[in-house]
Amino acid sequence: MALIEVENLSVHYGAKGQLVRAVEGVSLRVDARESYGLVGESGSGKSTILRAICGLAPMTAGQIRIGGQPVPTPRGRAFSRRVQMVFQDPYASLHPRHTLDRTLSEPLAIHGIGGSDARVVKALEDVGLPANFRFRYPHQLSGGQRQRVAIARALMLEPEILLLDEPTSALDASVQAETLNLLNRLRAERGLTFLMVSHDLAVIDHMCDRVLVMQHGRAVEELTRDQLAGAQMTTDYARTLFDASADRMLGA
């Protein structure tokens, strides 16, 4: 049984009097310990799917099941212990007036988990940050370091599922690779399931076992890693995306 099941998900919302169909009848299944990618151009609705899963965007139609159970609305604390998210922009996703210590111990405080001192130190170590960063503020960190903190925060509650919303698109190339390798290592160590959004097929190729290509809020084509590597796509759109990033994929 798949760990994450999304069935015929539609997300519509009104903006300035117009109905925006951000996602139209998308279905996907992610198995436990799998890494699943969503790829597409800006505005194709891939981030909206992640937001709908965690309840940050409204579901208009369809169903989302985690471990076979439909997700409750509001999502609740049990959900937050299973599913966490890493946001796109590390400059906006950390509270500017909280030290890293506060940011990392907050989820523990919410769930009444003790031993936060040791857990915070361990979490920093796990994402490769020195322990003396603990009482720093986000503005004292670089973009890559901030994204490491965001990853550490998402892992504080030891979830099984990590939703990654373009986790590296705000970082420059060398830091991007470091961050992706960190994510891969953590996934291997902890047996995490990834649902990852990117507009970059090279990133998806590096990270994901399967990928769903999206355009205009609809699913276009699902590919396995081997199909992607062998350029065996059946739709023109997927091929265009592939051609745009093929040179970097071969280098990787």
Partner: protein, 301 residues
Amino acid sequence: MATMTEWLRDPSPASRTQARLGQSYLAWLRMRRNPLAMVGLFIILVLLFVAAFAPWVATHDPLAQNLSQRLLPPGTPGHWLGTDDFGRDIWSRIAYGSRITLYIVTLVAVTAPVLGLLIGTVAGYFGGWVDQVLMRITDIFLAFPRLILALALVAVLGPGIENAVLAIALTAWPPYARVARAETLTVRTSDYIAAVRLQGAGAGRIIWGHVMPMCLPSVIIRVTLDMAGVILIAAGLGFLGLGVQPPTPEWGLMISSGRKFLFEQWWVATMPGLAIFIVSLGFNLLGDGLRDVLDPRSSGK
């Protein structure tokens, strides 16, 4: 001493307490680099000192009348700021009056902004009908002239310093609510709020721990800017017989009573007016400095 400073400045503190103390120390260093803030702090410290040691600072009994010595100009031996129409020493009255001023200012400063902050952040965070109801109430309070509303409240509650404070606090919160709501609206959709919501935090925790810290600096600035107005409204209530009652040496009351001699004996109204001016200036300067200190992003090296 050197080891103490080193402990405070340790870039990798060993405990939360050390980190917090270290941050306070760095905030103090930042504040010390701002000369205007230090001037403000100095003025407020002088006010505190005078209020605490009024019986020793004052040269006369603030209530003792001496009609043979009435309306003496400043510089008269024994009365360096002059005397008022009852022959009371103006300096001593200002010194004792600082207690009342401080009392009013403190009470208003801990009630009105807290109420405004609470209402504004709750309205901004929840939005929808909660926002509508709370902000319409705020509008109703804002639509009344502040002094008139305070007058109505004191008229109902009866004259006296506590009721005056209550009336001022109840009329002073709407601007804070507006400021806090505006800040909340910009913060509530940010990713860091989404992140903490995703961690299962309730509305109370998010508003208190995550939204309010973002609203605090602008509210603090408003508080310090409003302090002069608070002192004057308290004086206005006293003038109309609804606040502090004579012969209590309250600065606003002293100005009102000096009004009658403003052209011939200018010092009777001017001296307490100068006191209000200096204290308001002190609060404003201190407030500006505090804003810089409260924002960790502004910490230079």
